[in-house]
Symmetry: C2
Subunit: 373 residues, 2 copies
């Protein structure tokens, strides 16, 4: 097991990465926090798999009984809304939670984001723990304290920066992920590789086949990604210096893809993977990088997209519109582009033609590949 | 004009106190912040009085036009809820507000609390300014960054700590307050006197008649209170060391009074005034202070309660129940008691009999006084 610290001044916290560790770590954390009540925030489907062990673990954390309650809601990005949040507030109020009690986010990014914002705003903040259950959430959303819910048509439009007490990444839990969900998480791993970490990139590249990827050293991979995330978050928690913004590599294109397809056609990681291919294409067109960069992106990312089917109806127009809408509404339209491997740069104004061409060409390429399946 | 700084490390901000200053100061602040859009959050009734000047001032802050919009909602604590908050999010989204734009809270405590939480959570935080229009908000709620909305039966159950960019206390605006609203604010001024400031107390005492109080040096009074608040907030922003908790003097009893009368029978300051009389009574009963303390409270606070009518139906039982409910739900039941003037102490466990006796006796005394009107 590895322990990494997110060194935000005054709010430093640990991220534990290991296999089969979450029960023991959780007991230790609760022993320290001494809550009277614990609310596990999760989906029913996740608790069906892990709930009994989780409940028993929490209940056993000390001699005197602790109230363990569950607040669950259905899966899906569309559930990360103000309505679910309000249900959460009422749940905590009805069960008389105080600032001495604790929330445990047990799930993927949607659970972590919603539970974190709930914790940040209930009586101005109660402690919470993140136990991510997807590879995506382990390497990205569970660390760094960006929490929130969506408004209709505006992802993460309501939120806060609110750091957890601790994060527990237990790769054992990844066993229950589908191949597709796992691949989506690997796209986010690849992002760290392209931005910061050649070793990570080579490990992904050598185990080209998705089937082999389950054999990777998951602890080492998650540990590397968390270390990168922790470093970036510690130096730019509030996303102001531009350093944290680098983590949005592939995300400007990716968000537009997700939004234009109403979060139904592809997983977040898949959208980010396509987004990174588009970003590499844009970097080439802008004269920032050569074709090797594009090739490397295709080689590493395309195997992760086996199950994506882009509808023929989705055009680059819709994506362009979506990006402009983002710009109008609180989100700046900034691109992270690479000048080479591990050489990221924030680009504030990328000519519209380049953006549009990159989108059009990559979409056409993806559709050709789909027809050949 | 006086400028006081709230010295929270990394988020220091100024509070300006003066007469007839808000137009000029606001222009200067907006010149520095350079927003593309400004949303004034207020009540229709306030904008009827001050709106035109405010809008003209904002619009004139630079040569190029700035979009000035207003988001208003009706008066009343019951409007400080999730529904109004959601309306606010949609308003900002529909008008395409970005993190470069600015909210201006222009009103009393309800406006400031709601606008502040809206600002804290829209895209994880956009800048906001506080221009309090009541004495209560000037000396208390506008400074210190406690923002939020209520849940049914649970005041400030959803909220955050989120500091404004600046606060502008323009005592000229107090002209339009009713006598009753002004008196309610003076109760909060008296609180600072009892806790920290003998001069303030003497000034209140010598101008015994409410009619004379309009003749006080309002700038000096507001300045003294803000200085106390700024000092306490800077040393205990998050309400953890117990120092900020001292500012709840009179509030444990006061909240119970407000809640048991559904926020309809008395203003916040009036409830706090009665709460402080109860606290002095409790301190005497607990053997912490002598009868002089009680007398001083009655002398200074009773003149502020001219228009309060306690219903005969309100018993001490209801108040006790309310305090216990608060305790169960996130709020600790702690009392601030005085061992003498300017000698406050946090008391975690006050015997229930003492609390009940203090409530019963002060309520009976208040009702006798009402009958003699």
């Amino acid at each position: 097991m590895e322990r990494l610290d997110v060194k935000i001044p005054g709010r430093e916290y640990p991220v534990y990465v290991g296999r089969g560790i979450y029960g023991e770590i959780l007991q230790g954390l609760l022993h320290g926090l001494k809550p009277g009540k614990v609310a596990v925030v999760s989906h029913p489907s996740i608790l069906e798999l892990h709930g009994q062990y989780l409940m028993d673990t929490i209940a056993a954390h000390k001699e005197s009984p602790v109230d363990v309650l569950t607040f669950t809601f259905p899966e899906g990005e569309e559930q990360k809304n103000l309505k679910t949040l309000e249900d959460g507030y009422r749940f905590l109020l009805n069960h008389e939670f105080t600032r001495e009690d604790v929330l445990v986010a047990f799930g993927g990014g949607v659970v972590g984001d919603l539970a974190g914002f709930l914790a940040s705003s209930y009586y101005r903040g109660i402690p919470y723990l993140q136990i991510p259950t997807t590879l995506m959430a382990m390497v990205d959303s569970s660390v760094g304290g960006k929490v929130g819910v969506d408004l209709p048509g505006a992802k993460n439009a309501v939120g806060a920066f609110y750091q957890p007490q601790a994060v527990v990444c237990d790769v054992e839990v990844l066993q229950t992920l589908t191949k597709r969900e796992y691949g989506s998480g690997l796209a986010e791993v690849a992002k760290y590789g392209f931005l910061f970490d050649q070793d990570l990139l080579e490990e992904l590249e050598t185990s080209q086949q998705l089937s082999q990827r389950y054999e990777m050293d998951q602890e080492a991979i998650v540990g590397s990604c968390v270390a990168h995330k922790a470093r970036v978050v510690a130096s730019d928690e509030r996303d102001v210096s531009g350093e944290r913004a680098l983590l949005n590599y592939g995300h400007t294109f990716g968000h537009a893809l997700e939004s234009a397809t109403h979060y139904r056609l592809m997983r977040h990681g898949e959208a980010v993977a396509i987004g990174m291919i588009m970003a590499a294409e844009a970097a080439a067109k802008a004269g920032m990088a050569g074709p090797e960069l594009q090739e490397k992106h295709r080689k590493i990312l395309k195997p992760l997209l086996g199950e994506v089917n882009l509808t023929a109806g989705l055009g680059s127009d819709a994506l362009m519109e979506d990006m402009k809408a983002d710009k109008k509404r609180g989100e700046e339209i900034r691109f992270v582009l690479l000048e080479g491997l591990q050489r990221p740069r924030l680009v504030d104004s990328l000519p519209e033609e380049i953006v549009e061409e990159a989108i059009t060409e990559v979409m056409a390429e993806m559709r050709r590949a789909e027809r050949c399946h």
